[in-house]
Amino acid sequence: MKRLGLRARVTAVFALGALALSTALSSVAYQITRQNLLTERERTLVRSAYFDAVIVREGLRAENPAISEVLRGLDTGETRRPVLRREGQWFSRSADTGITDSIPVALQRLVSEGTPGTQRVDLDGEPAFVVGVPLDEVDTGFYEVTTLAELERTFNVLATVLGVAALGTTLAGAALGVYASRRVLEPLTGVARAADEIATGDISARVARDTDPDLDRLAVAFNSMVDAVQAKADADRRFAGDVSHELRSPLQTLSAATSVLARRRDSLEPRTAAAVDLLTEEVTRFEQLVSDLLVLSRSDLPAERRPTDVVGLVRGIARQRGLTEEQIEVTGDGSRPEVDQRRFEQILVNLLDNADRHGGGAVRVGICTDPVLVRLEVDDEGPGVPPDERELVFDRFARGRAASARGGTDGTGLGLALVKQHALAHRGSVQIADRPGGGARFVVELPAREGS
């Protein structure tokens, strides 16, 4: 099972805490209130019953009393229902027949033995309260049965109110949990966002300082970490830039001098000519390496986007590299995306170079433009790239294992790294897929404009 996030857990703890607390408080409040109300009510009923019993006793003193009349004469309100048991016979008001069944035998016995008693009973499914008072004649008991339905309804209302209150408290607790966790985690969200931005190439991203001193420490620590990393990266880049820059002048001499030699190649003896060939080849590669290194040392600068005729560019470059019209596939709506033209050119050229070196030459170049995305594909018919090496080949100088397996160690080892850097500078991506029919397909996708 997926573990819940910190925020969800904090919220849950707050909610559960609030639930437990409010439930406990509500139950206690309910119990106490109920008990008090019941006790109070019962005491009142007992008092009323005694009062009524006195009146009944007086009524019974008359000669040949009309018991029903006596009972009817009681002021019992709506809820108290008086009955009398005399010499094994029940007397009640006509409206109250049938309630005598609810008076428990145990209570009757108690009363008939001369002891007053009370008992809670069930009357037609509703709670009721019976007060039994012995009258001072032998074997005469006066009872008052009172339904407590009204009180029970009050209890229900009370329970509902308390339940709703408990639920509200729980929700409030949960809301508090959401707020608290968000408040506490907010700096983390900021840090995460900044880290994301940095990971996708925006090294200038920083976390906003927090007003809370406890949380501010996190922002400050994070920012200073990024500063340190950036300083290190800058130093590395400057070094790479300086080195390649310093190599440029001697390379210019090498290049020009080599071309002087190469021009006379045919008049040289074979051994010397072979050496000149090697020299020419290596100088060319060296030039490319230095140029790639320089570009790479700057490649994490943001892309200089401008509306660009990428279709025209792709056509021009692909034709120059010997691809036929059939091999250049143009799709999409032909819109002009905003890309960094030089980076885009280099992406295509490097992918074509890569196809030449490792895939027997490109067999298809696809360019698809729409207002949102530019998609460039370069297909070759080489051995393809095994899935577990598809990330590795984009590393700098990754020619080692991955590339030599693809059958070549020429090139600078920076070509694909540059492709990736250029794609990232556009906040785009580069991926390797299998070409239908065998070979590798390099797919570069760039957002057509900043932030799209």
Partner: protein, 242 residues
């Protein structure tokens, strides 16, 4: 042994071997470039300082000049400006620096093209050839005059007038103007201009076009900040209209 000019490809026009001046303070680069370009058929004069280069050019005007930017004494930028004052000789900067600031400053100073070291001799030679090409006439025998508002252009004669005043353009500026004029108000993309004016089929540098258009505007527009004739078409390129 000194390698002599072989003049096989004869880059000069009218049968004359083109004279190339190299201003470069690094002896090894200067010597190797001289040899390699002599192999390409140029007569090469090489000097280590801007001052010597200017003196040489004044005494014996070169057909093309290669200039390094970092020079002892007068720097490359000043050298370019001084050469511009002397005439419209095509100037190619050959520099190890390639940040935008340097490229634009050199072009603003008046350079026609900018290549970054190390440049292959073949490539450099192609650049020089492109600059040496004459502005392409619009064809026809009769000297033609094209008008764009106040701007009068006579491609064959190589003359431009703004109203009554003759305008002096460098060779590259003139070719840029002719290519735009040739399109009669249609838009040319930067890439097309790079191809037609500088001979870059692909991989040309947009900054070349932009800076030259800016320079051209300062010469042929009454208000260069609000051009009326040489217009930028955002996302597409430039056009010249009446």
């Amino acid at each position: 042994m000194r390698v002599l000019s072989q003049a096989r490809t004869a880059p000069g026009h009218h049968g004359r071997v083109a004279r190339l001046l190299i201003v470069e303070d690094d002896d090894r680069i200067r010597l190797s470039l001289k040899m390699a370009l002599e192999d390409e058929g140029y007569t090469v004069k090489d000097v280590p300082t801007a001052e010597e280069g200017l003196a040489d050019h004044a005494a014996n005007p070169a057909d093309l000049v290669l200039v390094d930017l970092m020079l002892p004494g007068m720097d490359g930028f000043d050298c370019i400006r001084s050469l511009r004052k002397l005439g419209d000789v095509p100037i190619v900067v050959v520099s190890a620096r390639d940040d935008t600031h340097d490229v634009v400053a050199a072009l603003e100073a008046g350079a026609d093209d900018y290549v970054v070291k190390p440049v292959a001799v073949k490539e450099l030679s192609a650049r020089l050839r492109a600059l040496k090409r004459r502005a392409r006439g619009s064809g026809g025998d009769a000297p033609k005059t094209l008008r764009f508002g106040e701007i009068e252009l006579r491609p064959e004669a190589g003359e431009v007038q703004l109203g009554e005043d003759p305008v002096h353009l460098t060779r590259t500026e003139f070719r840029l103007l002719c290519e735009l004029a040739d399109q009669q108000g249609r838009v040319l993309s930067r890439q097309q201009l790079l191809d037609r004016v500088w001979g870059y089929e692909v991989f040309g540098d947009d900054r070349l076009v932009d800076v030259h258009v800016g320079r051209l505007r300062r010469k042929i527009e009454r208000d260069p900040a609000n051009p009326k004739h040489l217009l930028t078409v955002r996302g597409l390129g430039y056009k010249l209209q009446a």
